[in-house]
Structure formats: C-alpha cells, structure tokens
C-alpha cells in the first residue's frame, strides 16, 4: 500500500469508525484487564469480551492503554 493510500485509509477509518457494536470508554476500562489476561492466556478474548476489539479500533487512547497493559504484563511479574 502506498503512503497516500495508507493515509487515506487511516483518515476514512477515523472518520467512520468501527461498524460493529462497540464498548464505551468506561466499559473498555472496566473490562480491559479481563480482555488482556484472556489474550495472554491464548483464549478467545473477543468472544469473552464482545465489542472490545471494535472499540480499540476506534479509540486511539484506549488502544494505547490496552497495548501498554498487555506489554506490561509480559514484562513485569
């Protein structure tokens, strides 16, 4: 994918957001630990916490915190 195309896709995704049912930011924070532990355990995290994947694709702040928590749990005991 070319850089202009990538920027275009990024912009359109940001403007339109995810199309599926998604959690709110409050629900995301409430369930983030459950989702991350499920991911790290190799479980079906998206089935366990429906709507999380969609929210993380539409909310950059929550996505950053998800990535941090997941990476932290693989780094710290």
């Amino acid at each position: 994918m070319t850089e202009p195309r990538r920027r275009h896709e990024h912009l359109v995704a940001g403007l339109l957001g995810p199309s599926g049912a998604e959690l709110t930011c409050e629900e995301c924070f409430d369930l983030l630990d459950v989702y991350v532990d499920s991911e790290l355990a190799g479980e079906h995290a998206d089935e366990r916490v429906p709507g999380m994947r969609e929210h993380l694709s539409g909310c950059p702040a929550c996505a950053e915190e998800h990535d941090s928590l997941r990476d932290l749990q693989t780094t710290l005991p």
Binding site: H8, L11, L15, L16, E26, S38, L76
Partner: protein, 214 residues
Amino acid sequence: MPGSVPAVQRVTAPPGLDREAEARAWLGALRGTGAERDDAVRRLHELLLRAARFELGRRRAMVAAIGRETVDDLAMQSADDALAAILSKLDDYRFESRFTTWAYKFAILEAAVRTRRRAWQERELPIDPDAWTTLPARTLDPAEDLERRDQLRAIIEAVRTELSPHQREVLGALVLAEVPIDVLAERLGTTRGALYKTLHDARRKLRTVIGADS
C-alpha cells in the same frame, strides 16, 4: 452508560485457583489493619510505580522535553492516584483477571492521561474552521482512484450537512488534528466517555448517510 451505544454481553469465566488465591491474599491484606495492611499498601504502591514508569518510558517522545525530575513526579503522582482509586474500588474487583492486571490498568491510565495532558499543556488546540473545506485538496493524491476520492467527498459533505457544530468540532479535533481525547476533554470541560459518545454518534450518522453499514 450512553444509551445509544449498543450494549454488549459480558461473559464471565471462572478464574484459575492460583490466580484466585493470589487475589484473595491481596484483598485480605488491603482490607486488613495494622502492619499487614501497611505492608500490602506499600507493596502495591511499588507495583503501581513500576507500571507508571513503564508507561512513561513508552512515551519517551512525548515527555522528551520534560525534565527527569518532572517525569519522576508524574510517575509518583500516577502511582499515588492509582493507589487511591484501587483502595476505593476493591469491591469492584470480580476475580475475572489477575489482581495485578486489574491494578496495573489504573496506573497505566493515570500515567497515560498525565503524559498526554503534559505534552499538550503549552499548545493551542489546532482547530481550523476551514479544515473540512480544504481537506480533499490536502489529502487526496491525484493518483488516487475515483471511487476513493468520491467516498471522501461524500463523507465531507455529510460532515458539513448532517453533523451538529459540536459533532464537527469533536470529529475535527480528534480525527483531523489528532488531539488526544483526554486533552480535548480537559479543554472542553467534559470527560473522555462523553466525548467518545459524541464521536460515536457522529460516525454512526456518517456511516448511515454514505451507506457504509449496508
């Protein structure tokens, strides 16, 4: 919770016994008294401080202009506030994750929000009232195919005709200017959740108008 955001089912699963035993030990000590509680609070604060430092370390680029002492202060403030939040929400822990995962998320949130706000504290919000008008010229490459150009033009027309001024302002700040949602929430005197609800409703309206959901 905002009513227009579709509700989703939360499925619970029984935690592992080791995880549950670990969590019960934490909860018992934190709800206890005397030296046992003091020790548990101290150990938890140490973990939260490590988590906050980890988060700040991930954001080196954002905090590059901040002095070492200030970064340490941010980490300590984040750990302090995370600890206070956790101690007031012990009854909210539901044994669906490791206790430390549950606790770490409070430190991550505190450190992330503080860092975003700190990085933007001297900056004006880059809100340009003409941003929507000039967007196609700024973003569309002549080589892009016609369908993509038409799609973006349709979205921009829907932004102009279908969204409220507040929805346009929020969408423009968060998506076009990429202002962190916590920073925008602070400037507008609202919350991340309320802003995301505005963003969610605006996006849903745009998807409906351009037929993206069909």
